[in-house]
Amino acid sequence: MGYWYMELKGDGILIPLIEFEMDPKGSLCANNWAGSSSLTSPGNELETNLSSNPSSFYGVRIESPFNQFNQPSSTRSVLPGESNKDIKIPDQENCPLIDSITSKLQDWDPNAMLNNLSFLEEKIHQLRDLVHLIVNKKCQPFGQPHELLTQEQQLITTDLTSIIVQLISTAGSLLPSVRHTLTSTNPLVGQLGQLRGINLPFGADPSNSVRPQNSNGNKLFDKSTQNDLPNNCEMEQNYNMEEHEPKEEEDVDEGENLPPGSYEILQLEKEEILAPHTHFCTICGKGFKRDANLRMHMRGHGDEYKTPAALAKPHKETGSEPKLIKRYSCPYTGCKRNKDHKKFQPLKTILCVKNHYKRTHCDKSYTCSRCNTKKFSVMADLKTHEKHCGKDKWLCSCGTTFSRKDKLFGHIALFQGHTPAIPLDDTKGVADPPELQSRESNSKVGSMNFSFGSNPSSENLVQNVMDVKGNIDDPINYFSSLNFEGCNFGGFNEFSQPAFEDSEGSFSFLMSGSFNYPPKSGGGESSSDNLL
């Protein structure tokens, strides 16, 4: 039944979605339209199912899937009861990859194309017969009842639309860009574009919980109702897998883009991977890290291993037929590098397998002796880290560390609001609590209240400053205008004394009790005594 594939490819995905939302019970009616209108002869049933205007029909579908399926609620995903009994949980191994599907849709399949074309041909044939019929009827002298005529016209329109849809979707499957570029400039093309666009959630946004049903209703795949799968892509895969003849072990390497089947998959066992040696002597079982060493070892087992051919490096077979490329699978079930994983990405070499396995699935047993925090499962990683350990001195405010300054500044230039973090050793000594800081500086400089002569120390700052002014007056009274009272200029008389040593008298006038300049030791009051 080649038709089915075609139908499903074009509409099948869409139809159950719509039905699901609009009317879960009648989930097959739209499908019936797609299928029966083309295969079975038109009847009343069709008309009732089909809304009078096809475009409005489309319009509903186009909007609904996204609105509804953005909410991955489990209640929504529960399928109608009668369908549920048919649920078949697909074997994991048989799940083809979503990527393979999308790529398959892009890579055109000649067989499917042939099917499509023959289907279209048949449809056109049917339509031609129908139109013939109408033409013949019109030729008859007695006109038909009006309702019948309009029914026929609707039928023709529907079928024509269906044909156009098929034609364009077939063509669209050839052009990967079509699905993205098709926009709603032309109502029909717009619909088609959106129609095709339904495929987008598969590839672009797997989190959209699209729940396709198989349109013939026999097989429903809803694993999420039973298992908690990471997302519902699985569903689509299952679904799509049903559509296309599933290919065994369809492995795709995204990075390499190797065509599936173009390489051979090898899977080493856990023990093999963790074994220190990879080359074992077939005779005595001794293991070696290198094949060359094994070959050297083999010489001891007999002369036949001593021939130059046996000792020589087994060169690559560069014969006419290209050797199948080897790729490796991780033995850990569920790992992305495991061949059973839906997004399987093979590993290139045995070394990759070993490092991958150790890094991902083994304990990190090597601890950095410098920082005692970083742990590694691969020795080489530890050594690489140790080279740079402690050098991550370039720190961003977001907490990211960098070993190189240019990397930090590149990071800061890239992001909004990130600033370089000031290293801690820089803050040492300066980052005292503010209170302490200010108190220190205050006592150091701010309130230097010393007063000359007999003025009491309790004067306020202003008064003290005035005192300074006043006290520089001299006995000759140059500053008679200033007229400061209570100034004692005894000290001036002693200026003539040359020596500083007998400073008892000469300095006392400067240092009255209020002079509270603290020495570095921080002794508060005694400093005025220490000064002399």
Partner: protein, 669 residues
């Protein structure tokens, strides 16, 4: 009596606040005027407190009262306060949190990132911040500054401890920055500067002098949309090879300074100024060679008006080519430029007749021919500096009188004579005249100047030794708006000169160094009348003693610096100076009458001192605590060996006499 007083009070009250504000706006230039204004009456006093927006405190002790009195300060200048601590910053930032727009802390010390953080967080409308000369400010301070998100102008000159990390914080947070000065921030590299250029898209002006930067950050800078001024003085990391890799095209650039960039040639300049058609100002001092290649490069800048080629090597033909390729220059600096000859300079001035400012200081090759051409072609010249043009004969100065618009003339160390001065006096707009080391000029020449150049503000007669009192008296009579006068080492000048100079009420700077005949009498006259005096140099005025200084201390409340080494001032005079509240700088080498006791008293009494120059011999005589206290207060003591003992000895037996006596004895024997 009461009835009479009342209408008078009402009379002032009749004036509207707006009117009084306008009056106040006109009073701002005179520091005494606002003071007298606010003392007029109570309402004026109140009005002045709300009107004032700018403040330049002299002493921080009064800050609490100032905060109380002036609630709307927006511009704060702390250049007279060396000691601004975190507490001060915190309290002022709380008090003026909504008004403070600009703060200058370039001369202040002792605050840390804590105070800056308070400032940045409280004063949300802070736009300008000057933190120059704080070599100890580190990245934490930079991080604190970064919180001032509205900052537009930031000067971090000589902040040598700030690194890329701190600059990075500022660049990210202060995205509105327009003017950034990073001169001498030697720990800032390409990364920090590049980040500023990436994050602060509004940048108009960038000073990156002496930074170890390369073309990597220039790439980002040239992509700035609004950059106008770029200063790259002494950026030795920038070279031609690197500049050639630049692809950017900077159309907004108006000023480019590449002084002392020895690794940049005309090739680098070409790629750096790619697309800069609007360039108006180009400074290439001590860098590029003046060649025809440079001329080709300059050809692209059709709007170029200002070119500075001082200290450049080059050829005469190169300079001629430059003259040919530039459109119409207005300002040209060729000081010590090797390319200047009579031929090239004559050609240059003939092609650029709109020249307004010309500097040909120390162009030793030019003769009167150049001067002739300059004066003939450049009639709009306002400034001519030709110090030490030694080959220019005295006849050449006769031409200068043709430049009627001349405002500034520097003929220091030339052959100008009285006849020349007579013709120079035709430039009636002269405000700045430098006649230092002009050994041919006499009082007669000065008389001409005094008669016609009444707008003279700045006169330099340094070592013009034939000048006597007569000349100075005529000058002070004719040029009453004189602000700066230097009559250093004119041994003929006596007190009567100073008495007449005291008639110049605007006098701000007076240099009478080495005028041995001037005594305290002259200085007292100056002190009593010139109340704006800010700087005074009485070094080697042996006759000036405490009497003059005490007069000074009493009247010259604006005095900021005084040099009085070798004078006869003693402890007493020095201590008297403590009454001058804004005194910042004193130089007191070899004062005979200075004792260590007196010195200690002076140091403690002068609260605002920031710099003191004195003999090393005092260092051991002063108690350590005083030194520590001075340091803590923000005062720098600069010690110099000046042979104090020899000096005292030579006073008793003047050294010259003694040696000649010695010689005589020697010969006699």
């Amino acid at each position: 009596m009461e009835e009479l007083e009342k209408p008078e009070a009402n009379f002032f009250n009749l004036l509207t606040d707006e009117l009084i504000s306008m009056i106040l706006n006109h009073l701002e230039t005179d520091p005494f005027a606002t003071k007298s204004f606010s003392q007029t009456c109570r309402s004026f006093h109140a009005l002045e407190s709300t009107h004032r927006t700018k403040l330049k405190p002299r002493r921080l002790e009064f800050l609490p009262r100032t905060i109380h009195r002036y609630p709307f300060i927006s511009h704060l200048d702390f250049t007279l306060c060396p000691c601004v601590d975190d507490d001060t910053l915190n309290s002022l930032s709380l008090a003026w949190n909504s008004s403070l727009v600009s703060i200058d802390l370039s001369r202040s010390r002792f605050f840390s990132h804590v105070g800056l953080s308070a400032l940045a967080l409280n004063c949300t409308c802070l736009i300008e911040l000057d933190l120059s000369n704080r070599t100890d400010l580190n990245d934490l301070a930079a991080k604190a500054i970064a919180e001032a998100a509205n900052l537009e102008r930031l000067c971090l000159g000589r902040c040598k401890s700030i690194t890329d990390l701190g600059i990075g914080c500022i660049a990210v947070k202060c995205s509105k920055l327009r003017f950034v000065g990073l001169r001498w921030c030697i720990r800032v590299t390409d990364f920090g500067v590049g980040l500023i250029a990436i994050k602060c898209k509004e940048i108009r002006s960038l000073d990156l002098s002496y930074l170890p930067i390369t073309e990597k950050c220039l790439h980002h800078i040239l992509n700035l949309k609004y950059i106008e001024d770029l200063v790259l003085e002494h950026c030795l990391g920038i070279d031609d090879e690197g500049l050639l890799t630049l692809k950017a095209c900077c159309k907004s650039m108006k000023m480019l300074n590449l002084s002392k960039c020895q690794n940049i040639s005309h090739i680098g300049l070409t790629s750096l100024t790619n697309g800069a058609q609007n360039l108006e100002k180009l400074i290439l001092s001590y860098g590029l060679a003046v060649t025809t290649d440079l001329a080709k490069c300059l050809q692209r800048f059709q709007r170029l008006q200002f070119v500075q080629l001082d200290g450049c090597v080059g050829t005469s033909s190169g300079l001629k080519a430059v003259g040919n390729s530039c459109a119409s220059l207005k300002d040209l600096n060729l000081c010590k430029c090797a390319a200047v000859t009579d031929e090239s300079l004559s050609f240059l001035v003939q092609t650029h007749k709109d020249l307004e400012k010309l500097d040909i200081t120390c162009c030793h090759k030019i003769t009167h021919a150049s001067i002739y051409n300059i004066t003939n072609s450049c009639s709009r010249l306002t400034s001519l500096r030709m110090e030490s043009c030694s080959l220019v004969s005295k006849e050449a100065f006769l031409f200068i009188g043709q430049c009627q618009h001349l405002e500034e003339l520097d003929v220091t160390d030339t052959n100008v004579d009285d006849e020349g001065l007579e013709l120079i006096s035709r430039c009636t707009k002269l405000s700045n005249l430098k006649l230092g080391i002009c050994l041919k000029i006499t009082d007669n020449g000065l008389k001409h100047i005094a008669r016609r150049c009444s707008e003279l503000k700045h006169l330099d007669l340094y070592r013009s030794s034939r000048i006597t009192d007569e000349g100075i008296i005529t000058i002070s009579n004719g040029c009453s708006s004189l602000e700066v006068i230097n009559i250093a080492y004119n041994s003929n000048v006596t007190d009567s000169s100073l008495v007449s100079l005291s008639k110049c009420p605007e006098l701000r700077t007076l240099e009478i160094r080495g005028c041995s005949q001037i005594s305290s009498v002259g200085l007292s006259n100056i002190a009593a009348r010139c109340r704006h005096l800010e700087a005074l140099d009485i070094k080697k005025c042996y006759e000036i003693n405490d009497t003059g200084i005490i007069q000074l201390a009493q009247h010259s409340q604006n005095l900021k610096q005084i040099k009085m080494s070798y004078s006869s001032v003693t402890d007493m005079g020095l201590i008297a100076l403590a009454s001058i509240s804004c005194l910042q700088y004193i130089s007191i080498f070899n004062l005979e009458g200075l004792t260590s006791n007196g010195l200690a008293a002076v140091l403690l009494a002068c609260q605002n001192l920031t710099k003191v120059k004195l003999n090393t011999s005092f260092k051991s005589l002063l108690p350590q605590h005083i030194l520590e206290y001075m340091e803590a207060r923000g005062c720098v003591l600069i010690w110099r060996e000046k042979e104090f003992e020899t000096f005292r000895f030579s006073l008793c037996f003047p050294f010259g006499h003694f040696s000649s006596l010695f010689d005589a004895i020697h010969m006699w024997e």
